[in-house]
Symmetry: C2
Subunit: 392 residues, 2 copies
């Protein structure tokens, strides 16, 4: 079969450098997903795919009582200040499911999103057959999202006779880590009678968040991004007013939720999400400290020649995007080109910067200690000095 | 927040009886998904959600070279006798993605399926906006699927002017474990110019299977069901003729596959699928032994008063469905009602029978040793005798 033993043996021995003890991983998508000790402890026991399903009596994973999945989903809804929670495969699936269901029940041509939305938001809308209308950011260097931009897009679309299905706001965006207050937009949505979807992939699970108080109708998040879960797992949290509509049942199998295609998440993804939940409930209270650390690091890195934080200042989130023209100049003359920065950091026990990129650097300080953030600052400054960049 | 410490503590301490050493788990959906030692070994290292993504250079998990994901997908395609493989969240998502993509490119109203199809096949079609046309089985006791039944459904639909989008066959069905030869149906599909989707959730990964030789256009399977992977993970394997159509790109993000909504599977689900793959390649060669063991157990269980194997005889698959009217009579007068059988088996170290059901019993012998199958036979016979049922 062309699958010789030597070739196959490689799959038996895959390993991971970034998981080694002492390595600081700055990957912006990874910080909030790193497992808790409690989650890591149950990996082996729940490693088998159907490990949660031993005592499934009704063919609905959300109703399982041993382990307490049904209670957990209720607690999760309460924690998020929402009414009903379902787990789905990814945050983007939660968006897609919402759009497919709303589109079937209401009709509609378009989804209004912010210009900083994650690519998967655009894909979910496109796959659901919707046009995407963008409320643009203010552009370089702040990339701020203004409720006013949404108002203009919504009014223009309505003038043109387009049927807007829903409005989506990226709570903290993946490019600049700008945090957006949903409340002014929620007021606007109420006025236009449009449901508001909040993409909380980078916020729920790391910072305090009560969807109902923010005027949100649908809140989606990502377990492997911000809930210390193995994933892939998405969280779909609904206000009761919308729950029956989004969780439409199958005609043929009325016990099954149609757009979820039945039970979506199981095994390790769900078990680790549950095991980490008590820790997550505690950790969101420490968000101000996390932001303080991010701001401190920005201050240290901006001491390096040319470095400038992009996005709104001061930081209100731990995801940081920096312009780094000095490092980019170094890369042009370095024999490893753009990879030099990645490799210099790795030599100092720091990983997670996108290999090859030096024009902009993205990182996330979430969950790092003061000492670790100091090590990161020192490493960047050290590399700057090594390559002749000034540090003030 | 109403989430007191006592309530939260429960999530920290979830555990699993069926994972205890020595317990035989007969759950029909679980046998093929139990992790290999190789997969179990890497759980901790790849437990974090984005553990595979450390060296992602292009935003496409299927193109990652460290660990060797890209090579793995090629090997997987070759192993399945197909051309292109993508991993998706579940087998049902692979069906749904195929239907959504084909429907956009070709139009079409209906999917033709066998009457033994899994409920998720019906949901995938319904969610994709398709009518489901069923080729019925022959009914009790064989529930056999005949190509002739498909022919009648297809011809009738064409007469009525319905546009059939595709035809789906459940390779081994989840109710009776009947194994269906796709070749006669593939001939029929070619004649009607219809793509054939094979749902190999219960076959690929446990028995030898070459899609191209069977005339299959799309082969879907389930990593957590039959590939010793944690999952959830679905396998979408395509013939090159259909690959571009099913893996349609996003207009807005041409690097991303639209109906996959970008990268679907990551972390433990993918890492365990890879780590178990060398074992899976070996184990499919032992399928005849697996079938022999299943047949032996059927023979032993049919010695019990009233027990009769449903589905085609002799077994060609390890998923077994039995009519057990004797046990059902016992349940009627037992103080634990239908739960007595589950509890009696559990007391003998055997789990995985649906708690509460005694009219029919479903189980799967896949991967059990001769000694374990003997223990299962002995336990059922022992319980029968205890409750006054005769054993011949």
């Amino acid at each position: 079969m062309g699958l010789d033993t030597g070739r196959l043996a490689r799959y038996r021995s895959i390993g991971r450098e970034a998981a080694r003890p002492g390595v600081i991983n700055l990957n912006p998508i990874q910080r909030g997903g790193i497992l808790t000790p409690e989650a890591r402890r149950i990996l082996a026991e729940f490693g088998d795919g159907y490990s949660i399903c031993d005592f499934c009596l009704k063919g609905r994973i959300d109703e399982i009582r041993r382990p307490p999945v049904a209670d957990f989903l209720e607690d999760l809804a309460s924690f998020l200040g929402m009414d009903v929670v379902r787990l789905v495969n990814r945050c983007r699936d939660a968006i897609f499911i919402t759009l497919m269901a709303l589109r079937r029940s209401r009709g509609g041509d378009a989804l209004v999103v912010d210009g900083n939305a994650h690519y998967s938001t655009f894909l979910a809308a496109e796959a659901a057959g919707l046009e995407v209308l963008e409320a643009p950011s203010t552009g370089h260097p702040e990339y701020r999202i203004r409720p006013e931009a949404y108002r203009e897009v919504i009014e223009k679309a309505e003038d043109e006779g387009k049927a807007i299905l829903a409005v989506l706001l990226t709570h903290a965006d993946p490019h600049y880590g700008n945090l957006n207050d949903p409340r002014p937009l929620a007021d606007l949505c109420r006025k236009h009678d449009l449901p508001l979807i909040l993409n909380a992939a980078y916020t729920a699970g790391v910072m305090p968040l009560k969807g109902r108080e923010l005027g949100v109708d649908v809140l989606v998040s990502s377990g492997h991004k911000s809930w210390a879960s193995s994933g892939p797992v998405g969280i779909l949290a609904l206000r009761s007013e919308l729950a029956d509509e989004v969780l439409a049942r199958s005609n043929r199998f009325p016990n099954k939720e149609l757009y979820l295609l039945g039970c979506p998440v199981l095994g390790v993804a769900l078990a680790t999400l549950m095991a980490s939940f008590p820790h997550v409930v505690e950790r969101v209270a420490r968000w101000p400290e996390e932001v303080r650390r991010a701001r401190w690091l920005v201050g240290q890195l901006e001491r390096i020649e040319g470095v400038r934080q992009l996005g709104v200042k001061p930081k209100e989130h731990t995801l940081i995007c920096l312009e780094t023209p000095g490092f980019h100049e170094v890369a042009k003359r370095h024999k490893r080109r753009g990879f030099f920065l990645y490799e210099e950091l790795k030599a100092r026990g720091i990983m997670g910067i996108q290999p090859g990129l030096t024009r902009r650097v993205k990182l996330n300080t979430y969950g790092l200690t003061d000492e670790e953030v100091q090590r990161v600052a020192g490493a960047f400054q050290d590399i700057a000095v090594k390559y002749g960049l000034s540090v003030s």
